[in-house]
Amino acid sequence: MFNLGGYGPHILAGAVTTVELSLLSLIVSFGLGLIGASAKLSKNRAARGVATAYTTLIRGVPDLVLMLLIFYSLQIWINDFTDWLNTLQSSIDFEVQLDPFTSGVITLGFIYGAYFTETFRGAFLAVPKGQMEAARAFGMKPFLVFRRILFPQMMRYALPGLGNNWQVILKATALVSIIGLSDVVFAAQQAGEATLNTFFYLCIAGAVYLVLTMISNGVLLYLERKYMIGVRKAVL
């Protein structure tokens, strides 16, 4: 049944690209989410405004539209910028070429950063105020408060939302094949066109996603247990 007709390594390489892309986008959006949530909760009005505009605009526009918008515009902006640099310093010819992988990571990270911002904002608000006050009373610096008190407790509240976001990112990477990255969907399409058996190869691609979903469910369950240590559940 699993006769992949010699396209096994090709599809496997695509699957690896999918996983790499999702993990890197997760890191970018995780960082952006933390920054965005701090901006949304800060006392600075400008930071709050920028963060609110970011989350509202990004979450109101379909990700495929944003992906095409950013993917095609980013290169033009970078070209304009390097042209401008070259006019300043004409002795060196400065040039940056974005490959689909990098722009895929930047785009997905930027889009899902908005969703992470909202998740983290809710989670930060859920941490009891007394915890922060106690930490400050111990003389901890703001960063230490964040690292030792806020972050570990916040993660417990954020995990269900993070898990959802991760599953959405994993599935959104399929869109990147539209902008020409050879992920698992792209590989399956190529194999299907070459062997005239698209149905079979697309089912294989779907199965790859199902396996990845199951693995991430397991990891999430483990993380949830880890961050639940020391929390007593109400017995109903």
Binding site: L64, V65, L69
Partner: protein
């Protein structure tokens, strides 16, 4: 920007002269797929709550497969994969159905949103408070009446906030139709981009239009929540 607006405003809004395109097409895709998904989800959600594993098992599997794989893969599978199968190719009614891009798109969207909606309704039905069902039984209602009068109205109301999220996500998902050559907003703006090579103007316009539709939907659902969930307001 002005050039795109002058040349494409009609195609962006309702028609390019031959067929329905742009905003009208996007809304049509959204409404039809959500309607079919809703009709599919309601009985499936009731079946998912059954105690018999032979009944809830298949529904769970349907949800697992359609929520575990990307919509893009499902669309490709139905649009390019199914038509390539021999028995579909050789059965005229099936071949006619799967040859049309819009049919395949609607089918995959409806199946996808149906899976998510089933899960939403399943949770809402499961969380119906015990007292409501007990009171219904005390009135001597049959199972069917109990579902029709008590469980489903109450569950649908409680599912409304989650369901509005799903509809917004479905609006975002309709952009995938452009990969199957269905002329929705994104397809028209993509044509404009190809003609002008001004990606920011073309796709920015699409982003603005989707933003407007998103905000109108959010506003409508807020009004609906105020109406249907008025009893829950403190």
């Amino acid at each position: 920007m002005i050039y795109i607006l002058q040349n494409y405003w009609q195609a962006l809004l309702y028609s390019d002269g031959y067929q329905m395109t742009g905003l009208a097409m996007t809304l049509w895709l959204l409404v039809i797929s959500c309607a079919i998904g809703f009709c599919l989800a309601l009985p499936l959600a009731i079946a998912r709550n059954s105690k018999n594993p032979l009944i809830w098992g298949p529904v769970w599997l349907y949800g697992f497969i359609f929520r575990g794989t990307p919509l893009y893969v499902q669309l490709l599978l139905i649009y390019t994969g199914v038509y390539g199968l021999h028995f579909v190719h050789n059965t005229p009614p099936l071949a006619d159905f799967f040859r049309s891009a819009i049919n395949c798109t609607l089918l995959s969207f409806a199946l996808n949103t149906g899976a998510y909606t089933t899960e939403i309704f399943y949770g809402a039905i499961r969380d119906t408070s015990f007292g409501e069902v007990e009171a219904g039984r005390a009135y001597g209602m049959s199972r069917f009446t109990l579902y029709r009068r008590i469980i489903i109205p109450s569950a649908l109301r409680r599912a409304l906030p989650m369901y509005s999220n799903e509809v917004i996500l479905m609006l975002h998902a309709t952009t995938l139709a452009f990969t199957a050559t269905v002329p929705d907003i994104l397809k028209v703006t993509n044509d404009a981009y190809v003609a002008t090579y001004a990606p920011f103007d073309a796709f920015g316009l699409a982003a603005l239009m989707y933003l407007c539709v998103s905000f109108s939907l959010i506003f409508m659902f807020k009004k609906a929540e105020q109406h249907f969930l008025a009893h829950l307001k403190s």
